[in-house]
């Protein structure tokens, strides 16, 4: 086993195969002592591993640009752009996150136990973002394939120009939800303060319910019933410029 790894080998779990379970060592980095640049470089250079980051104290760009299936846990609140443009990694923030959490997420996951500020999941192209608390304005803005599940409520102008992916809101939404919406799927359980241009309520069909169920399960919110949610999507009236749409712009 690699140097520094604590290994445990279990043989023949029922199927006769050799099953190897390795407990990977946890590396702790204290942002009060280590420069952010060093932390991020370490995370960029690692091909695997588990990391715990302490004392983030609202620092920006923590654990951004990751590109390997790392496991990263952050104890405390982070600033802007935590986990920005991440691929394959799994990041958990045990605190709140600032603006642009998981912006342009490509794959992997980001979980925030507290609240997220503006533009959470902005332009995300894949992966899963789960927010246990609330998200602020512009949640899922311009999303391009990311799945976002928010246990609490979200702010105004969320899913603005949302192109692809799913946004699930277990609480309420603010005003102008899905303004200028493209093909993203929006599911809301609570109250919608107002809908944006071209965003309309749509019937929940079986495959939508199945999609929603799967998202709730992946987020760990199995206690919620998909039938309590409503679906919103694009009316597709703004897809081609036409004089009669002039009021929508």
């Amino acid at each position: 086993m690699g140097a520094g790894a604590v290994g445990r080998v279990r043989v023949g779990e029922g199927s006769g195969r050799l099953s190897v379970e390795t407990e990977v060592e946890l590396e702790t980095v204290d942002l009060a002592a280590t420069p952010l640049r060093e932390l991020n470089q370490r995370l960029h250079d690692a091909e695997s591993g588990r990391f715990r980051i302490v004392n983030p104290n609202g620092a920006h760009a923590v654990a951004c640009g990751l590109r390997a299936p790392l496991d990263v846990e952050i104890l405390g609140h982070v600033g802007y752009y935590c986990a920005g443009m991440n691929q394959h990694a799994h990041v958990r923030v045990r605190g709140n996150a600032g603006t642009g959490l998981a912006e342009n997420l490509m794959s992997g996951s980001v979980v925030v136990e507290g609240n997220a500020s503006q533009s959470a999941g902005a332009t995300g192209r894949g992966g899963l973002l789960v927010i246990h608390g609330n998200a602020a304005a512009r949640c899922g803005i311009s999303m391009k394939g990311i799945d976002i599940v928010v246990r609490g409520s979200i702010g105004h102008m969320s899913a603005f120009m949302a192109q692809r992916g799913c946004l699930v809101v277990c609480g309420d939404t603010g005003d102008a939800l899905g303004d200028s919406l493209y093909e993203a799927h929006l599911y809301v359980r609570g109250a919608v303060a107002g809908l944006g241009a071209d965003c309309v309520e749509k019937p929940m069909r079986d495959h939508h319910a199945a999609e929603l169920q799967s998202l709730l399960a992946r987020a760990g919110f199995d206690d919620l019933d998909p039938s309590d949610f409503r679906r919103y999507g694009s009316a597709r009236r703004l897809y081609n410029f036409a004089v009669d749409n002039a009021g929508s712009y």
């Binding site: 960029h44 760009a61 640009g65 752009y81 342009n104 192209r125 603005f160 493209y182 002039a246």
Partner: protein
């Protein structure tokens, strides 16, 4: 339809309501939608043509051609990046999207630029393979739309350009109409095929220079501080914008004057928003000098650069480099007389064609139609670009040598005079034959 200009005794055309204005008002009344077109501002505004260079005579001595070198190299991104860009000539290819342009056209730009040792720039659709393979030095744009944005391309780019705006439409976002949203473009941009792309004018996750600073920091962290970060603005309140871009942490500032081209936007936006490149250049240099960072934060200007004279004058005002967009497309064959018949068939004419938004370009440049794009040979196009860039460089050197400069960067405002009061005031150089600088 081209109207024959004959002699109409007794008939007088209005200046305010000339034939073009009449045609546009009637078109608007018929169609109920604004006029969208490509190209840059077509009306005349003060420009580099209104400046002249003071060549050598008795008080100044020229350099000989050939043997006495006039160097043209420029390094972009020295402020913070580990790997600044080293270019052989002070002319780069501006950001133009795959989507606005065909794939072979993007490839040709890469080929030509690489041959002479300069850079190209991606556009509002992301990075194509053709582009990355063909261009040795590729600048990757981060736009409000974030179409195709991904960290792999960010890491394999040579520089990153945060686009706040462009000269043709400062305050506006990208535009691509349905007939140009082909399968490939749709896939790259995560859009349904054939729809008219709506565009964000602000970035989704930051607004203002204080938050831009944090965004630039994130981009550097993601790319381990290797790459220069450019900030591009359309020229409006250029003096403040340049200072703010510097404070936000830019390595290089790109200022695009109102004459800058676009693939598609409203005609009124193109003609009536932004300030001329001439004025913007002066303001940008003033801002950098006041911060004590001229030449340390590099300045690229664009918007109506056509000849080596434009290049030389922009450098003389203090730019480190210039960027070309419209001129590059023309060099590759846009608006060539050889397509005149086909232009006429689609309601235009060679020398007038600006319907880049329609995607029916017979030259195969501003189109997504496979048949039309196939007409464009990227190798030939690449050679044309390389030739044109060489001519721009030689012309610049000719003028610089005549002014006694061994490096084109040694051109300075004192080598310039103006032909008009407006140009003198905007460039802050004296009216020719006088020592008068209006407003100074």
């Amino acid at each position: 339809m081209a109207v024959a200009d004959g002699w109409h005794p007794g008939l007088r055309e209005s200046y305010l309501y000339d034939r073009n204005v009449i045609a546009e008002i009637q078109r608007a009344a018929r169609e109920g939608i604004y006029d969208i077109r490509g190209f840059g501002a077509k009306r005349r505004v003060p420009h580099f043509d209104d400046l002249l260079l003071l060549g050598a005579s008795i008080s100044r001595y020229p350099l000989e051609g050939y043997r006495e070198r006039c160097a043209t190299d420029v390094v972009l991104g020295t402020r913070f990046a580990k790997k600044p860009l080293e270019l052989k000539i002070p002319v780069t290819i501006a950001g133009m999207s795959f989507g606005a342009l065909s794939a072979p056209a993007k490839e040709a730009l890469g080929r030509g630029a690489s041959e002479v040792g300069t850079s190209t720039t991606t556009g509002d659709g992301g990075m194509t393979e053709e582009e990355r393979q063909s261009s040795k030095t590729l600048v990757y744009q981060l736009l409000p739309s974030r179409y195709g944005m991904n960290p792999d391309d960010l890491r394999r780019a040579d520089a990153i350009e945060v686009v706040v705006g462009q000269g043709a439409k400062p305050g506006g976002g990208g535009m691509l109409l349905g007939h140009k949203i082909s399968d490939r473009v749709a896939a790259m941009r995560d859009l349904p095929k054939g729809i008219d792309q709506r565009s964000a004018s602000r970035h989704p996750d930051w607004t203002g220079p204080d938050d831009l600073e944090i965004k630039i920091h994130e981009l550097r962290e993601i790319t381990d501080w290797e790459k220069p970060v450019f900030v591009k603005v359309g020229a409006t309140r250029t003096y403040y914008d340049v200072q703010l871009a510097v404070k936000a942490g830019a390595d290089v500032i790109v200022v695009d004057g109102m004459q800058g081209g676009t693939a598609a936007t409203q005609d009124v936006f193109i003609e009536h928003a932004g300030i001329p490149t001439l004025a913007a250049t002066r303001l940008a240099v003033d801002a950098l000098q006041e911060l004590g960072l001229h030449r340390q934060v590099q300045l690229i200007v664009s918007g109506g650069i056509r000849t080596g004279a434009d290049v030389a004058k922009a450098l003389a005002l203090g730019a480190d480099a210039v960027s070309i967009g419209t001129a590059a497309l023309i060099a590759m064959g846009d608006n060539s007389p050889e397509h005149d018949e086909e232009y006429r068939a689609i309601g235009s004419a060679a020398g007038y064609y600006d319907d880049w938004q329609a995607g029916r370009d017979p030259a195969g440049i501003s189109t997504q139609d496979d048949e039309l794009a196939a007409r464009f040979d990227p190798e030939v196009g690449g050679r044309r670009i390389a030739n044109y860039l060489r001519v721009l460089t030689l012309e610049t050197q000719t003028l610089a040598r005549a002014c006694g400069k061994s490096h084109v960067h040694n051109l300075e405002p004192e080598d310039l005079v103006a032909l008009t009061v407006e140009a003198a005031a905007m460039a802050r150089v004296p009216l020719a034959g006088t020592s008068w600088i209006p407003g100074a």
